[in-house]
């Protein structure tokens, strides 16, 4: 019986009914057909060496899959940083608007928006250093906690403290 699932142009010889990829007529009526077919495919593959992928091909596919994963991870990271960036800008705006009439630096640093920025940890360091680079806001308190150390310890001058933090950021690839 000719295989009905393949184009007629091909010769009968090329696609025999015995081939594992061609289903028999009314295959769906028999309940064991699927398992039978699986076993027949398996048998066929093990018989015919040409169906087995060469080891080189396998390596390539693994490499391709791995590179795909890598780019996926990169894209995910990019998306996460974009989200963080957006959240950071929103928080900075909120913090500035809600604290500009305050005199208390303690209250300014205890503001929920500032605390949220501090909670970003090392992920938010480059963003905070960027703000410091632009000369916007008082970020020394946050930086101290985010970096886990006080680079400007003992410095009482704004410009000197800013320079110390920017230098540290540059050396540690945050800028």
């Amino acid at each position: 019986m000719p295989c009905t699932q393949h184009p007629f142009k091909r010769s009968r010889k090329e696609y025999s009914t015995e081939a594992p990829y061609c289903r028999k007529e009314n295959w769906w009526k028999s309940p064991d057909n699927e398992s039978e077919e699986k076993t027949s495919v398996h048998r066929h593959v093990t018989k015919m060496s040409s169906y087995v992928l060469p080891p080189k091909g396998k390596t390539w596919s693994i490499v391709w899959f791995a590179s795909g994963l890598k780019s996926l991870k990169k894209a995910e990271k990019h998306l996460r940083s974009a989200k963080l960036d957006e959240e950071f800008n929103k928080l900075v705006k909120q913090w500035k608007e809600e604290t500009f009439f305050l005199s208390s630096l303690s209250k300014m640093f205890a503001h929920p928006a500032y605390q949220r920025i501090m909670a970003m940890g090392t992920d938010g360091l480059s963003l905070v250093l960027g703000e410091l680079q632009n000369g916007q806001g008082n970020w020394f308190y946050a930086l101290k906690f985010m970096a886990g150390k006080d680079v400007a310890a003992g410095i009482k001058n704004y410009e000197a403290a800013r320079a110390a933090w920017l230098e540290w950021g540059y050396k540690n690839n945050y800028i």
Partner: protein, 194 residues
């Protein structure tokens, strides 16, 4: 930028601020960080530093900071004492004296300070915002700054006759001087109009 209208848009923070009960006297100072002064510095008569008891490159405090509990009323009184202030009991205007009022929140933590000007009105620096003049301390009291609970005073350094008893003759001379000035001003105004 000199625009204090933002005060009117924060009724939940400054409940007693109404249009007309304060005057905007300076520009905003929040253009650059650490470049301005705050209300505490303003009350102490300084305009170059941000006075706050915290270990930060942007902050200045005239006395060593208490590492355990730095933001206390006692700590603030000690800081003002370095500028010649001493504790007094009320916010009434006294000729020849400068007065400062320290505001505290519900927990007793200092939040703000205002200075009594020689004209008899109070002056406040609103954080990084503008300096404003207000007739009473009640105007800036509220949820944000709390209440004015501590008053300090010092002899006015600009007043020469601070502790001298003024004689009747000197008072009469001062009155005539003021009268003459008013007369001159009215006359010049009439001359300009005609």
């Amino acid at each position: 930028m000199r625009d204090c209208s933002w005060l009117l848009h924060l009724p939940d923070r400054f409940e007693n601020v109404r249009p007309g009960n304060f005057i905007c006297r300076s520009d905003r100072t929040n253009d650059r960080p650490c470049n301005g002064y705050n209300c505490i510095a303003w009350a102490a008569g300084k305009e170059d530093k941000w006075w706050w008891p915290i270990d930060d490159p942007c902050a200045y405090w005239p006395i060593p900071i208490d590492p355990i509990d730095p933001v206390t009323l006692e700590h603030f009184i000690k800081a003002f004492e370095t500028e010649g202030y001493s504790v007094c009991c009320d916010d009434r205007f006294e000729d020849g004296f400068e007065k400062v009022a320290i505001f505290v929140d519900r927990d007793g933590t200092p939040t703000h300070a205002a200075r009594l000007l020689p004209s008899g009105v109070w002056s406040s620096k609103m954080g990084k915002g503008e300096d404003i003049e207000h007739e009473t301390l009640k105007i800036v009291e509220g949820n944000e700054y709390g209440t004015a609970s501590q008053f300090l005073k010092r002899p006015n350094p600009l007043c020469r006759k601070t502790n001298q008893q003024k004689t009747l003759f000197s008072r009469l001379r001062q009155f005539l001087k003021a009268l003459f000035k008013t007369f001159l001003r009215t006359a010049s105004a009439n001359h300009t109009n005609s």
